[in-house]
């Protein structure tokens, strides 16, 4: 038998949710009618690898064997998708035909797409592959362009590869650390002029992770405010960065901003489908709520979202993750986000607007606002109205406090909350909430009379206490006082319910 016949195995992986599951690429090059078959439940993209591999091998100066080639992707029952199999298939053929001499260590996986000229291209989910390789204690051969992303994973052996031909070249030491990202100067709170109540609400939300609903006429700065919540939240911890970046990586969304510590800000349009919002499709890919993991999900024009669409958000908001059950299996995506919702006060948008007269009748307004109400609003602690600011004030008022100086205060408060085990505040309820609030007898009396006076429901009282607790941390107080309760009550939304 000639030297270009034989068998070889190269490791790779396929993605199921955020997890990279190890896959073996087994190649058998044998005598017989020339053929090239790929078996093992690959999707159309996997099968197309044949043409890319053939051309890439030739273009890189290797010989493509004129023989019968069978590629098996094991384990067989697992569905495999994507173009990341190109590189391992090509490497396995090279190894089976004796064209590689130990350049490829056994305990390395390879993931990458091939171009016809032999260059190696990145695929979605490289970060998930990197985490999977670290978990399984194997090395990883990655496309060069994915090196900065993969470099964010510590304790991982990896080798960047620019083109297929470079595999025989000198090994560049895998000292690719992620380049130091300078945290981009996001939108600054200093741009927000006036709107003091809204600024305060943002601070409270940033400390306690409370969800927020902004109601106000068009042009009152709802979107502007929402965009400024992320930058005043404490920066992502290294673990949070990876958790979020993996989701972005799988969805093929640029993950470098997240890796540099910026919190994601996702603002799906109100025409978004359920699958687009919570995840779905084939292969199962994460939705907007998962892309907003550890960041902000901004739903502008909340009443325009479909009722069913909004209802699907309830369970993920409760659990901090979403479980999708489909034919290909159960997949869990993380989804712990801060919801910022915005709504017009009425269908025409001008209720309470000093500049324009509202044309909506009271019953129309009631109906419109009731669309916002219900179970979703039950999960929103801070409800507030914003108003268009007088242009004259815009010029006259001093610039607001900058995000940087606000952030310092928030980090301190967040540390206090975490030390007391009171973060995220949405996790607090019942006796646990009562005990962290540490209210005196007179404060408890005051809480009772507020609850009665405003006709708060049990949920309403819980929300009031949560917000008051966060305000107390913001002021450095370990007890909730009467003042904190009275500040928190302005963010109630009983009128909406």
């Amino acid at each position: 038998m000639s030297g270009d016949r034989g068998q070889a195995v190269v490791g790779t992986a396929t993605l199921l949710g955020t997890e990279a599951i190890g896959v073996e690429v087994q190649v058998d090059v044998s005598n017989g009618l020339p053929a090239f078959a790929i078996v093992g439940l690959g999707d159309a993209a996997v099968l197309e690898a044949r043409e890319r591999v053939r051309s890439a091998l030739r273009a890189s100066g290797f010989t493509f064997p004129n023989a019968r080639i069978v590629v098996n992707l094991a384990p067989g029952p697992l569905r495999k998708h994507g173009t990341g199999f190109d590189l391992p298939i090509a490497l396995a053929i090279l190894r089976a035909t004796g064209q590689l001499n130990g350049e490829l260590p056994d305990d390395y996986r390879a993931v990458g797409e091939l171009a016809l000229d032999g260059s190696v291209r990145s695929v979605a989910g490289m970060l998930a592959h990197a985490l999977g390789a670290r978990r399984d204690e194997v090395g990883l051969i990655v496309p060069l362009e994915a090196a900065p992303t993969v470099g964010a994973v510590s304790d991982l052996r990896f080798r960047p590869l620019e083109s297929l031909g470079a595999i025989t070249g000198a090994r560049t030491p895998a000292s690719f650390t992620s380049p130091r990202h300078i945290r981009a100067a996001g939108p600054d709170l200093a741009d927000v002029c006036g709107q003091d109540t809204a600024r305060r609400a943002l601070e409270i939300a940033a400390v306690g992770g409370h969800n927020l609903l902004l109601t106000g006429p068009p042009g009152s700065g709802k979107t502007m405010l929402a965009r400024r919540l992320g930058p005043i939240m404490p920066p992502l911890t290294p673990n949070e960065r990876l958790d979020t970046a993996v989701v972005h990586s799988i969805a093929g969304v640029e993950e470098s901003a997240v890796l540099s510590g910026e919190r994601p800000f996702r603002a799906p349009h109100h025409s978004a489908s359920i699958a687009g919002l919570v995840g779905g499709g084939s292969p199962l890919s994460p939705g907007e709520i998962s892309l907003a993991h550890n960041g902000i999900l901004f739903l502008d024009e909340l009443p325009e979202f479909g009722h069913a669409t909004l209802q699907t958000l309830r369970q993920p908001m409760e659990d901090g993750e979403v479980t999708l059950v489909r034919a290909e299996g159960r997949v869990r995506f993380p989804a712990r986000f801060t919801l910022v919702a915005a709504a017009n006060p009425c269908p025409c948008g001008h209720m309470g607007d000093p500049a324009k007269k509202c044309r909506c009748t009271e019953s129309v307004v009631t109906r419109y606002q009731s669309r916002i109400g219900g179970p979703l609003v039950d999960r929103i602690d801070l409800l507030l109205t914003v108003d268009r600011i007088d242009p004259e004030l815009l010029v006259r008022l001093p610039q607001g406090e900058s995000s940087k100086s606000v952030l310092r205060r928030i980090c301190l408060a967040r540390e206090r909350a975490m030390a007391a085990g009171a973060y995220p505040s949405t996790s607090l309820s019942g006796t646990r909430l009562l005990s962290v609030c540490r209210m005196g007898v007179t404060v408890l009396d005051s809480l009772t009379s507020l609850g009665r006076g405003y006709g708060l429901s049990g949920r309403g009282v819980t929300r009031l206490m949560r917000v008051a607790r966060t305000i107390a941390y913001l002021e450095g107080s370990d007890r909730v006082t009467d003042d904190h309760l009275h500040e928190a009550i302005i963010f109630r939304g009983e009128e909406l319910r």
Binding site: R200, E362, L384, L393
Partner: protein
Amino acid sequence: MSKTPSGGWVLEADDPEYPLELNDLNDPPQRLYGFGDPALLGGGLGVIGARKATPYGLACAHRFSAWAAARGIPVVSGAAIGCDLQSHVGALSVDGPTVAVLGCGADVDYPSRASETLQRIRADGAVVSEASWGDAPHRWAFPRRNRIIAALSRVLLVVEASLPSGTFSTADHALALGRDVCAVPGSILAPESRGPNRLIRQGATPITDVSELAQELGVCSQSAEEELGGSKDRLLAALTANPMRPDDVARCLDLDIVTAIRSITRLEASGLLKRYPDGRFGLSMRAAGIQSHDTTTT
């Protein structure tokens, strides 16, 4: 035409009980359908205002109506949500006479939220309409019923109305009939007070307390009547002048926002302030010196 409901009556134009005041109109109603006491028709105090009213407007409507009704002067209004309804409620709160002029059939409860009040007026006051029994409310009927309100009033008091407003058609009718038109002035910044403020500029008599209203109505006012007291509280005083958002309050009084919020909600919790649907805070009806009734608010 449907049958007269029990308790209802119909006054033809030549009926002795038919109110003479209606003949001042160019086109007096041919027939008047109604409930209650026909003797209450004519010579009343018309109290009207917009549907979208603030607690200020509602409190004024209530206050002046209660005062007049307590002196036996029938309070005439249109039973619409907002100021109108509050006028009737004010009159009923002192068991005084009141007349509701409807744009639909006199036996129809419209608006439905007013049905309880309407039922009381049918029993203790008078509900009239020129529409026949059972007629549904029509948009065109309301401006026409306004002329009846004007005709049945000797003085017409406008408490709150933005611009433009149907309230003006009533005022125009009243002027054409030679009735006195009065208005309750409000903040120049409040859109809801633009209507009365403009009427005052055009010559309507401003009414700032009950003794002035007494003068207009030609009744003797027992002096030392409780007066609207000015507030010692700086914050309350600021919000009396004009309802504001916490941001504006902080700016006007030079407070930091946290103090402003806490002071506002303390006053709100004690019932002196009320949050408007658009997020502004203003005096509650109670703060304006009125016992709160279980009735409509904005």
